[in-house]
Symmetry: C2
Subunit: 143 residues, 2 copies
Amino acid sequence: MDMALEQARLAYESEEVPIGCVIVYDDRVIGRGANMRVTKGNVLAHAEIIAIDEACRSMGDWRLEDCTLFVTVEPCPMCSGAILQARIKEVVFGTRNPKAGCAGSIYNLLDDDRFNHKAIVTEGIRQEECAEIMRSFFRNFRR
Amino acid sequence: MDMALEQARLAYESEEVPIGCVIVYDDRVIGRGANMRVTKGNVLAHAEIIAIDEACRSMGDWRLEDCTLFVTVEPCPMCSGAILQARIKEVVFGTRNPKAGCAGSIYNLLDDDRFNHKAIVTEGIRQEECAEIMRSFFRNFRR
């Protein structure tokens, strides 16, 4: 989660909503992403999507079955869906997103028997730091 | 939907699950995609994601607010989430996906007051053709 927070700080420095993500396989980081939605002018530039894209390229496979994804903020529907599609084994997130979170807040897409995959979810890791960087961002840039 | 079916046929020719998508803005096609998940070894290579990526590049914006997305099969959670995130105005799909569809089947992510966007959804356009190309694919390639 330390490295995911480092990615969140990179987003912050670009005046982007500070969310960061890393994907780990076999103790190795195979994907990382900092939210760059505005900078890239592309809705797909969420931290998780960038990290999943890099991880698929690293692995040469659309399946990321034995991977763990660490992200500072609870994934939105798009990113939760991408986690399901990639069959990522485990998701660890820092703080909840009550407005769009789909790993427990609005829905829990990652734990639904009707889909062909479920992920193990752990939340609240480095919660205070993950939440504080978000609060600081909205204080400074969204006035 | 004719052009979305053309994209689905391109996917079929590559031995990919035959789903196609186009995005229209102001009577102009600004994005198109054929499912290429296996060919590209990337979970993000669903038809809708490829089309949204191209549309964001065409528009130079992460918002696709006045656009209509045509897709042959009901979007999965990832693609429904991407549609929400991009604030696409209208979604037209051909045939339902009872196993993963999130625009009416398992969930309707596109019509939920708790999210900050909703899309107008029309389904069943060219339903029989959109379903038949899928059935034909699974008959031929998944034996």
